[in-house]
């Protein structure tokens, strides 16, 4: 007795919702029907053009045509708009295919249930079922839509750009068309002397920066958090309030402010150094000192965040663990090493990784403070403190080298992602996340 099962499957494959109606789930069936009808109208109008657009990126370039002896500008295809419109259509199509597949599976399962002698649930029961057993998925729908539209789609778009020649001055729509060039951009970036020199130089500094800035703020924050929360320290609230202040000042203000504080000519820091008879330091104008400055300023900005986070974790560590350790005669250092550090690391490991990744892409700290300067004559459009991400920004907005910028972006991503996923999967909070119950 496989009749219902097979029929429902076939019907649903033919047209979304038919299987459900066959299974007497009318409301659900009609909703599916309407979805398919609307989708079909949309795709009939758009899918063909979308495929054409993605393959060719436009075929008519902007040109002049003589109409009755007068040259007239004829608008060509705008490759980039075509690309993004095509992409949106194709993403909708993929979503539609997923919905279609789910519709078939649903019809088959309900059909199978009928074969086994159950009556299919009515609409209310379906809703109940979803709320009870598919709760997590329901919760994830809304965030997923946002992420799909404003993160995934743009990322796919930018990845595609890396394989085109979209860049100034020769391939800028609407005047000129853009073409697919395959791995040409990556080859130039990694192998062509003029680009690769800048790339490897900036890459090295980016990694040094990310490691130093993460380590200094994390352990700085831990130190401060423990200083305040140790037994016997009074006015905990006041200390905390004072030390939070750098975090409370909007970052873009504090960084612009620091830029002025460290100003070599008029900045107060150099004024003090001169007052004590020391020569001022070229904080922002010397390549080495500029690097020192960004690390120090980043500590000022970043330590309060780590401090807050770690203080939060410290209060969740049960006091009886320490009491038990004291009974066993543990020293302060032992208590820190055996209880505090593992507990803090357990709770903050994802944050730590996120901070590391964030620091590789810490645009604000560099851009607002030094703007990537001081200028480095050996680099293509990059200064001494430029990170890959600020270089990317300059390539995009100042130089219009979109394809090169996209290639740099993909490489940044590959580096960060490989490292972080590997690291994240190893952290306890991923493997043994049920440890704390």
């Amino acid at each position: 007795m496989q009749r219902h099962h097979t029929r429902a499957t076939i019907l649903s494959t033919l047209f979304m919702g038919l299987g459900q109606i066959y299974n007497r789930q009318f409301i659900k069936g009609f909703i599916f029907l309407i979805v398919e009808a609307l989708s079909l109208t949309y795709f009939i109008q758009n899918l063909g053009r979308a495929v054409w657009g993605i393959v060719t990126l436009g075929t008519t370039s902007q040109h002049f045509e003589k109409v009755k002896g007068i040259a007239k500008l004829v608008k060509g295809d705008h490759s980039i708009f075509i690309l993004i419109q095509s992409l949106i259509t194709i993403i909708f199509f993929v979503l539609f295919l997923i919905a279609w597949y789910m519709n078939i599976r649903d019809a088959r399962n309900t059909g199978a249930a009928r074969d086994a002698g159950h009556t299919p649930g009515n609409f209310k029961q379906s809703i109940r079922y979803i709320l009870d057993y598919k709760f997590a998925q329901t919760f994830l729908i809304l965030p997923s839509v946002g992420i799909l539209l404003f993160t995934v789609m743009p990322i796919i778009f930018m990845v595609m750009l890396a394989f085109t020649n979209y860049s100034a001055p020769n391939h800028m729509p609407p005047a000129k068309l853009v073409d697919w060039v395959g791995f040409e951009t990556f080859r130039s970036l990694l192998l062509l002397k003029s680009w690769s020199h800048t790339f490897y130089g900036v890459l090295t500094w980016t990694i040094i920066w990310a490691v130093l800035s993460t380590v200094t703020t994390y352990f700085g924050g831990m130190l401060v958090a423990m200083l305040i929360s140790q037994q016997g320290v009074r006015f905990k609230g006041i200390w905390r309030a004072i030390l939070i202040i750098p975090y409370a000042i909007p970052q873009m203000i504090s960084l612009l402010l620091m830029r002025n504080l460290f100003n070599g000519q008029f900045g107060p820091i150099n004024q003090y150094l001169k007052f004590f008879g020391l020569g001022g330091l070229p904080w922002l104008t010397d390549p080495f000192w500029a690097k020192v400055t960004v690390i120090v300023v980043n500590m000022w900005v970043g330590i309060p965040v780590s401090m807050l986070l770690i203080m939060g974790v410290l209060t969740t560590i049960p006091r009886d663990m320490y009491e038990a350790a004291e009974v066993d005669g543990a020293t302060n250092y032992q208590k820190f090493r055996i209880i505090t550090l593992p507990m803090v690391l357990f709770s903050t490991a994802p944050t730590l990784i996120a901070q590391f990744a964030g620091n590789i892409n810490n645009f604000n700290a560099i851009f607002l403070l030094t703007n990537g300067n001081p200028v480095n004559g050996n680099y293509q459009y990059a200064g001494s403190t430029d990170l890959l991400v600020t270089w990317l920004y300059k390539l995009t907005l100042d130089q219009n080298k979109y394809s090169m910028a996209s290639a740099v972006g993909i490489i940044i991503f590959l580096i960060v992602a490989t490292f972080s996923i590997y690291n994240y999967r190893r952290t306890k909070s991923f493997q043994e996340e049920d440890m704390i119950q």
């Binding site: 949106i88 709320l131 709760f135 997590a136 919760f139 994830l140 809304l142 965030p143 946002g146 992420i147 404003f150 993160t151 995934v152 743009p154 990322i155 778009f157 930018m158 016997g232 320290v233 609230g237 200390w239 905390r240 309030a241 030390l243 939070i244 202040i245 750098p246 409370a248 000042i249 909007p250 970052q251 873009m252 203000i253 612009l256 402010l257 620091m258 002025n260 008029f266 000022w300 807050l308 939060g312 209060t315 969740t316 560590i317 049960p318 709770s347 903050t348 994802p350 996120a354 851009f367 990317l392 995009t396 979109y402 910028a405 996209s406 992602a417 972080s420 996923i421 991923f430 119950q437």
Partner: protein
């Protein structure tokens, strides 16, 4: 005096000394900018740390100078920050609750995908988002900023929030389930109240985001009346270089103070370990 006591006094004195040094470092730039905003003249340079004469001229200029639309910018930013905070925190809570409490087939994949997407440099997608908003006719609107900030929130916050939710004992959920609470009931009545420190943390970071971000705001908002404070302030220092430093300082003070007050109110929530008490009681 016993050795233990002496050691304790030394330890505490050193701690206080450290705390004082750190406090000075934390406060100095804040106080410096406050004094700069009260100093007559326009330049960055000053002979003394505390100005010889005080003036409120720069603050007045912020509100009455017609080339600066400071009050408008401030309200714009506040509006954007509020809405993107509410929406962003909501979305983040949904995701983190789902991956923390439920075991479903694609759970680990979901988490990895969130982590990976969070690592893409934001600028990579800048042009794409710009074109997308253009498609939807949302350029130069505050709604566009709110949507984009809120949609990105789960990427940054989920894993942190999940780490926190994991520490709320499962036994509480089960107890509620026995008492007849459904999934929504557990979420509203147990998880939400116990996550207050986490929610506060998320809310603050989400709120501060729009104040800090100026590059994206600058890309989207074209008319001066629609600018956020960040764009306006950036423009103030960038277009006039250091010649207008004291007005910038006054603006910086005005922006920072409300946020600081907010922090003052909320910081106790941030560190209160509500969960530790919950599992014991």
């Amino acid at each position: 005096m016993s050795g233990v006591k002496v050691r304790k006094i030394i330890r505490l004195s050193l701690s206080y000394l450290m705390l004082v040094i750190l406090s000075v470092a934390a406060l100095y730039p804040a106080i410096w900018i406050l004094f700069s905003s009260l100093r007559p003249g326009k330049s960055l340079y000053s002979k003394t740390f505390i100005p010889e004469t005080f003036t409120l001229e720069h603050y007045r200029a912020l509100f009455y100078d017609n080339t600066l639309l400071f009050p408008t910018w401030w309200l714009n930013t506040f509006k954007i920050a509020m809405f993107s905070m509410l929406l962003g925190v909501f979305l983040t809570l949904l995701t983190s609750y789902a991956v923390s409490r439920f075991r479903f087939k694609t759970r680990k994949t979901t988490m990895s995908v969130l982590l990976v997407l969070g690592m893409f440099p934001g600028f990579m997608s800048m042009i794409a988002i710009y074109l997308l908003l253009k498609e939807f006719n949302l350029l130069d609107t505050h709604l566009a900023l709110i949507i984009v900030y809120a949609a990105g929130a789960p990427l940054g916050g989920t894993l942190i929030a999940k780490g926190f939710l994991d520490t709320i004992p499962r036994s509480l959920d089960e107890a509620a389930r026995i008492d007849g609470a459904g999934n929504f009931g557990i979420f509203w009545r147990i998880i939400l109240p116990l996550s207050r420190p986490m929610i506060t943390y998320m809310a603050l970071t989400q709120f501060v985001g729009p104040w800090v971000d100026f590059i994206f705001a600058r890309l989207i908002l074209r008319t001066k009346e629609k600018w956020t404070v960040a764009v306006g302030m950036w423009d103030m220092v960038n277009s006039n270089q250091n010649s207008n430093f004291t007005t910038f300082a006054a603006g910086a003070v005005l922006i920072s103070i409300p946020i600081m007050i907010l922090f003052g109110f909320l910081q106790r929530l941030l560190v209160e370990g509500l969960t530790a008490g919950a599992s014991k009681g």
